[in-house]
Symmetry: C4
Subunit: 233 residues, 4 copies
């Protein structure tokens, strides 16, 4: 079942090493079929060079494995919660990409400093509050999703406008309209985290935040009804 | 029309990923035929691995597409303005290369610190003033060119002696006698931005600017009537 | 003798350049056969692209070469001492990987800041005390092992829970259940050293240490009887 | 003439891009035949992928081209002066490798901080004093060699024990017993410059210099009559 989606999810997972976003098996990508209420996710701890489309695991929105020989990613409950919390999203990615992790470990948002950021993210990428001890010790991976949802609600953020978050002491989750788009956003986040780091080291006391009107200009040049970047499809 | 130039502009665009200057489609190169008053530029938002010479778009100096199926780069008005403002230049490049962007986001010139810089740039590479809200909200891409021209005029800079600029909160534009030369300058800028960053972190309070006589020596070793670097052609 | 192990040790050594952990010949991997009391190690100063499985050297636990045409790694006495001091370990790696060396030169532990660290190391990776002049001038390589053992004893560390150390002014040694596992740990150490460096530069005054309950959660998600990461084998 | 040496010098030059030590044509390697009093050097400004062994230029110790169609490297007088000043050396390399250049631009020695350094360099790699205006405006490239020689004399350094220098605002020159050895030293310098930079950022107020006895131990483990690293040849 869902053979086309398995192939797409496999391809999106394989983009992670080619984009230099993962070491070893430290990443996972999923995509959802909203009509069927099922998502397809990478199995846990399998080397990228041994992965095949058939290894992908089909899971329902309560977290039950519907098809697949292998255990799904240990982060499956986080993906599930994000699909339940954010009905607009179609794909989810988790990595330990080093620049985004540095911000997650520092407990700092990746600030919107430039047009590279604004082309994809409509504002700062938030560092979520840390999970409490109880949240870690009970349903940890599910609560990782809960904490992300809570952060977006508390900040009144639209998950499709800012399709990324940093989980404290952990690393980035990104999402998008499908798995490929979510991987794209994971790469953009890594690139802007690196740019911002160096800009802040160069000018530690400056006000480096992009003006709102430039953020608007670049974001809406690529998104929404008045977008004019790229080709009409 | 302009088939040779399309091939050259295609080749110059393809150098960007091979020089590690672009992520995704975030770069564009153009070249001008001054006799015809036409320039050739990359289409907007097309993946580098799908690009062909035939995809290049021919544009005139008022910004009208003269030939081409695809939309030209969204930065086409910036290229156009630079060709109009700087009659000596023959090629223009824009990238989001990460070290140059870090300086653009920090709002700092890339200072002339060493001979690596002086071999190509006769002085600091300027960070232009930010566009005003009005400049962003009206003809944004054209005004990006206007701001660059204004910065060069205000600083009395010769665009052929300093063939590069940083657009605030955005990234580098470089140029040169043709498209290939402009890409070369984009790579030099990225390399010296990285070197300067680390030199400033090592010695944050030192006066690290290259002496004028050493800047002169290296620049004129490679440029002008008395150049003696390389082979006679 | 030990042909299978020679092949495994050769393969593990060849992972070092493919994981970007060595320059030139600056690394060595060994693995032990506990029943026979023999370990197999890379020869000293041989280029990776000239190495063959037959070049591996067999050494006993008193440091005598039992088989092999070539001199064993000059660090052989360190490996030997670690095998003697830590009976649980099955493989040892030494590299000069640049991020771990930076911490070794700075004389600083690689702190447990995130889940990337906690998935492999149960706590900070210690920077051992420097060798004394006498320890350097007598049996230097053996004493390198002595200093490592002393550090683990002084800190009451379990070498299988924290399978890595930084030797001051030198670089990392890592170990594991076999040669391949030890190389894996060498790569994890390099990656977390890089992440921690950038986190500390971003937030130099913050308390960036991972909470104990999150360290527990991630470490035991992958290790011990209740591990649930990956596939059952 | 000197066909074998031309091939060796060509090969050594081609190592520079494979070791990530050059951008564009910014590097040159030479080797000397002391019996004939001639050295072979790369031509000026030729792309590495177009270079052939036959392009190498033969020069005598007064700087006259003895054989070769192409102009020799513009840095030829520096190489010549080093061969004249340091009779023990057999090969010379110049690059603009970015970490070494950062130190050259910062005007700082690359300090001996660790065993990676001590295995190759017996002490700090000196940043030479800047050339004076007169030295730059008269025989610049020759005076670059003069300044290097002066620095080594003033510091009582043995050029075979510390086979590298940083020319201020410029970059590294390294040397060795032959061209290949000089390139090896260029790579070591780049690697230790990177390690030292990060160690100093981690621990800016610490005393990070390697103790003399550890410097001695590592240097003499690889050099001189009592060396025991590697294989007997």
């Amino acid at each position: 079942m869902l053979e086309d989606m398995k192939k797409r999810v496999y391809d999106a997972n394989m983009l992670l090493p080619s984009y230099d976003l993962v070491t070893f098996t430290w990443g996972n990508v999923s995509e959802i079929d909203r009509d069927k209420g099922l998502f397809v996710i990478k199995p846990s701890g399998v080397d990228y060079d041994k992965l095949t489309p058939d290894d992908m695991v089909v899971v329902d929105l309560e977290g039950h494995v519907v098809e697949g020989e292998l255990n799904p990613s240990s982060d499956t409950p986080t993906h599930m919660h994000l699909y339940n919390a954010f009905p607009e999203i179609g794909g989810v990615v988790h990595t330990h990409s080093p620049w985004a992790v540095a911000y997650a470990q520092a407990g700092m948002d990746v600030p919107a400093m430039g047009t590279t950021h604004a082309d994809t993210f409509y504002g700062d990428v938030p560092a979520a509050s840390a999970l409490t001890q109880e949240e870690v010790e009970s349903a940890y991976e599910l609560n990782t999703g809960v904490v992300i949802e809570r952060e977006f609600k508390a900040r009144h953020l639209d998950p499709m406008a800012v399709p990324a978050v940093l989980v404290r002491q952990h690393g980035p989750f990104t999402w998008g309209k499908d798995a490929h788009d979510a991987v794209h956003n994971a790469k953009v986040l890594e690139v802007v985290a690196e740019m911002d780091y160096h800009a802040m080291q160069l000018n530690p006391h400056g006000d480096l935040r992009i003006p709102q009107y430039l953020l608007d200009k670049h974001y809406y040049r690529k998104h929404g009804a008045n977008a004019y970047y790229g080709q009409k499809h």
